[in-house]
């Protein structure tokens, strides 16, 4: 293999010079219809959460407490709670909803904290945003620093307007957490013959498969 490289060194050098220049010179794709308000919201609030989770001077218990408080500033928990129920959001009884909401809240806090913490990044940088429709924006970011060797793309779906926004979903490596949770929960209820209590009990007992 090295022989191959040696005989083609001249050509490779030319390629490198030419295409390196092309890559450097290529202008960044201009995003259409960015929303500065949504971007600023994610930059501030999500960075705060990441900074807390990356802070080695804070105990895990303290991190959970701070995350618990920060969730309401960052995320629209009632909306997410309704969304993850999928088609069963229309048929859930008030009593079931009263039991599901706190169980899901505890579950979601743990899951979202774990997912963000899995990558142990430190710095969030907004790279752009796309307005899907007024009040529904995808804010694209990268998380880097800490133990991340390559900047990790993370997208945040935020709903709102002006300076008032809330996150409703987060995407890591192409996978949206709330959409995946919706599929997970709806399948669990489907497999229980439509009995939402089965899911509620599962969440109350031990946070999904962990508690089995």
């Amino acid at each position: 293999m090295m022989t191959l490289f040696t005989t083609r060194r001249g050509a490779n050098a030319a390629l490198l010079a030419f295409f390196g220049a092309v890559a450097i010179g290529a202008p960044a794709m201009a995003q259409q219809a960015r929303d500065p308000g949504a971007e600023a919201f994610v930059q501030t609030k999500a960075q705060r959460v990441i900074s807390v989770l990356a802070n080695k001077g804070i105990s895990e218990t303290q991190k959970k407490q701070i995350f618990h408080q920060a969730v309401d500033e960052l995320a629209d928990v009632p909306r997410i709670t309704n969304f993850v129920l999928g088609k069963y959001a229309r048929t859930i009884t008030p009593d079931q909803r009263a039991r599901f909401a706190p169980a899901f809240r505890t579950y979601a806090e743990n899951v979202y904290q774990d997912r963000i913490d899995d990558y142990k990044g430190e710095v969030l940088k907004v790279t752009g945003s796309v307005v899907r429709k007024p009040g529904d924006v995808i804010v694209n970011t990268t998380i880097s620093g800490g133990q991340i060797s390559q900047p990790l793309p993370v997208a945040w779906r935020v709903l709102g307007g002006g300076q008032t926004w809330k996150v409703v979903d987060v995407q890591f490596k192409g996978v949206w957490l709330a959409i995946t949770q919706q599929q997970d929960f709806v399948s669990t209820i489907d497999n229980a013959g439509g009995n939402i209590d089965v899911l509620i009990n599962q969440l109350q007992k031990g946070q999904g498969a962990k508690g089995r």
């Binding site: 390196g20 959001a89 709903l159 490596k173 192409g174 995946t180 599929q183 489907d190 999904g208 498969a209």
Partner: protein, 277 residues
């Protein structure tokens, strides 16, 4: 010329034959790909579990078997590897594994009609294989040549092929028809395998072992996520489908079709899981 040279020459010729044959098959399939556009899956209705999973019973068994093997064998090996090697060392290994796949990326970016991306990937491979010490260091990324992966599954998707049926291959993981065919072509046409040796060689075996170990280590957060889920099988299926579609959108530049957050579907009495043909 020594016998070993002759043997190597014959092996390289055979590998070259496989490469050309694989590439021919790939090009032939790509010619048919536009016809598959009509078969492309419609986005799933929000709030329902809609997946093309006609083999769900088999797949669930295969998933359970694979998770069991991971629990007692692959997972502990990966966690042992993670325990004894610092993250920077694992990152070097990941870079080297990724670098060996870069020529395959070049092929697919050419097939997708993206010469600039193909040349950037070529430059990345040349720079990282030399200055980056056989790919251990991603020097090219620091030269504003970031990773932009590609494979045959993406190429098929780029030309409009839908994912087809979902299948969980025992001990290999989630897949669909499009990406399974793609993966087979990735292996058959792999230039590094053709030049340096496929699975029958020591290099090929070592490469496969390190690739599996690196892949499992990189996927560790995903395994954590499965433990958090109520139905890990559906979670894995959903995540895999989203991951692959996002990967294909990187090539097509299409916008993602997301569900409306505030409008759950009215059909709560829908079948438990519908399959699309």
């Amino acid at each position: 010329m020594s016998l070993s040279h002759l043997d190597q020459s014959a092996r390289q010729k055979a590998a070259g034959g496989r490469f050309v044959a694989g590439l021919t098959v790939a090009v032939g399939l790509l010619a048919l790909a536009p016809a598959a556009r009509a078969a492309r899956q419609e986005p799933a209705e929000a709030g329902t579990v809609s997946a093309n999973d006609p083999l769900e019973g088999f797949n669930r068994g295969s998933f359970a078997l694979s998770m069991g093997v991971d629990k007692v064998l692959i997972g502990p090996i990966a966690h042992g590897y993670m325990a004894i090697t610092p993250k920077p060392v694992r990152d070097r290994v990941s870079s080297a594994v990724y670098n060996l796949g870069e020529p395959n990326t070049v092929i697919n970016q050419v097939l997708q009609g993206k010469p600039k991306r193909a040349m950037r990937a070529t430059t990345r491979f040349v720079v990282n294989s030399t200055v980056g010490v056989l790919g251990l260091f991603d020097v090219a990324a620091k030269m504003h040549l970031p990773r932009r992966d590609s494979d045959f599954g993406q190429t098929f998707g780029y030309y409009g092929a839908g994912p087809g049926a979902y299948i969980y291959v025992p001990l290999m993981g989630p897949m669909n028809v499009r990406d399974g065919v793609g993966r087979a072509l990735d292996i058959a046409t792999d230039p590094v395998g053709a030049v340096a040796g496929g699975i029958s060689t020591d290099f090929g075996k070592a490469r496969l072992g390190v690739t599996i170990l690196d892949g499992r280590t990189s996927a560790d957060p995903a395994f954590h996520a499965l433990k958090d889920s109520s139905d890990p099988y559906v979670t894995a299926r959903s995540a895999y489908g989203q991951y692959r579609e996002a990967f294909i959108r990187q090539a097509t530049g299409e916008a993602e079709d997301l569900p409306d957050f505030d409008a759950p579907p009215p059909d709560a009495s829908a079948p438990a899981a519908t399959s699309k043909p």
